[in-house]
């Protein structure tokens, strides 16, 4: 039963393809890619999802919990529709990243780790996104938003609120 909840048939197919990429008996290597796949579907990684993934890879659930809690990209609680992962590291701050970040939180009326009342936005602080020369920056899922200014933040938020 959990199977249909955790991954759609297409994603389950993809998961099986991923597992087949590794040598015989090394299917645990598929853990990170499959957690990403599950998060893509649900927006976050629930305990049920982790149990499902453990089953899929024939490993112990604790092996999945251990990993999901170590890597910061996995959201272990439900998040808003758009998770804004804001770079707070040195080079971006040098370019005014702190001011733009304060503006973003003001605009949304939330602090780091919180989600807006309407469930649209979550703000998460992350470290250097390897875009330092194009900062300040944040990312929402796969997309990078770079050369941020207060005005640009306003535009992005308005666009995504539509």
């Amino acid at each position: 039963m959990t199977e249909t909840i955790a991954l759609t048939p297409e994603r389950l197919e993809k998961a099986k393809e991923i597992i087949a990429r590794y040598p015989e008996g090394k299917q645990k290597s598929a853990l990170l890619p499959i957690l990403h796949l599950a998060q893509e579907q649900h927006g976050w990684v629930s305990p049920e999802t982790m149990d499902f993934v453990a089953d899929l890879l024939s490993i112990q659930p604790v092996e999945v919990y251990e990993v999901a809690t170590f890597y910061t990209m996995f959201h272990l609680e439900p998040v808003g529709k758009h998770v804004i992962e804001y770079c707070r590291t040195g080079p971006c701050c040098t370019m005014g990243g702190e001011e733009v970040y304060a503006h973003l939180k003001d605009k949304l009326g939330i602090e780091a780790g919180e989600t807006t009342q309407d469930g649209l936005f979550t703000v998460k602080e992350v470290e250097c996104l390897a875009a330092c020369g194009w900062g300040p920056c944040f990312q929402i899922r796969e997309k990078y938003y770079m050369h941020l200014t207060n005005d640009k933040v306003d535009e992005i938020i308005e666009e995504l609120s539509k």
Binding site: L32, H36, F70, G90, T94, M95, E127, C132, G133, W134
Partner: protein, 448 residues
Amino acid sequence: MAESIKILTGNFDVPGIEQLDVYRKNGGYAGLEKALKQMSPDEIVEEVKKSGVRGRGGAGFPMGMKWGFLAKPEGVPRYLVCNGDESEPGTFKDHYLMMKSPHLLIEGMIISSFALGANTSFIYVRGELMYVINILEKAIAEAKAAGLLGKNILGTGYDLELVVQPGGGAYICGEETALLESLEGKRGNPRNKPPFPAVKGLYQCPTVVNNVESISTTPWIVLNGGEEYAKVGIGRSTGTKLISASGHVKNPGVYEIELGLPVEEFIYSDQYLGGIRDGHGLKAVVAGGSSVPILPKDLILKTAAGEPRLMSYESLSDGGFASGTMLGSGGFIAMDETTCIVRNTWNFSRFYRHESCGQCSPCREGTGWMEKVLYRIEHGKGNERDIDLLVDVAKKIEGNTICPLGDAAAWPVASAIRHFRDEFEWHVKNPEAATKKGAVYQPELSLA
């Protein structure tokens, strides 16, 4: 000014270069043809040795020598793992390379895998760069359809599968043994070295780990020969290097420079960074990613002996830690006089505390201490003993940990205090002035 030689980025501006046909029309995969059809694996290793190319991930270990160390026990598979974790603050060159020209890396991976006798190879890319992973996957599918990957490549009988693996957001997974743990589906806890991955790596099999940029040099080296490569650059710093430039410069971005370029020319020439943003002057530079010692303007432009400082492994480290720094990963962060060094140091120390895997206590506890004390100083609650305390904690971490993340956390703090001690003292003595919004230490104020 003479156009400098482009070994990696020569065709990056060709529209559509990320596509196989365009890449091929512009000379792509000629290195692979030559490697697979005209050379033996050992001959390729020999050329890479002759090139003198050094690891572009930061440590600068000679690539050919590492390849020569690869153990080759009978009947045991060998692996090549490309390190595209790129998480060192200030570094974004591999991001740029993979995004612009995925086939360059793929061609390099096939050549290198053939040279090392690997039949399954991995490109580990930080998970945040999912869009780059998609670009790579697409390029791999194209290459496979064209018979450049998979079984019997170019009809030579050589087989190779190439897997792109996403990380999960952890700086420590750039450290090669943590990366291997992560690739095995575990937490990214570094292993003790030795044994080096070349002896016991992925799945306990002999493995070569090389940076994206390092591997991308191999098509050129195979085509033109190691000796030609070694003619570029200066001394033991052969070839070109991608530098990611950020901070208060007019033209931030990624540049391919010939090693040996004077730092002054790199910063001020219009061909490169174009100088510091209008109306401001340079204060300090972190030349090789956040881990390397910060230098004040005078010492980054000239060595302590008054020689012009060059962009090379040797010149940047001239003077040791007393007055030098390191080329590292080539993350070049320039800061003008509006920068508060204390705040920047605190920010970096917060980063390392956050990224410590927690396995060894000097790193786990030390990074926590340094961040706490720096926070205190930056927020006007420090005292003079705190500055020496920081130096002391940094010393206790250095050299006492499983992996170099501990050192990487200690060096920025120790060097900031070494070169900007006045600024720390000003914070401690003038907490009210120092905590005003945007306040930055001005040397003349210290006399007041």
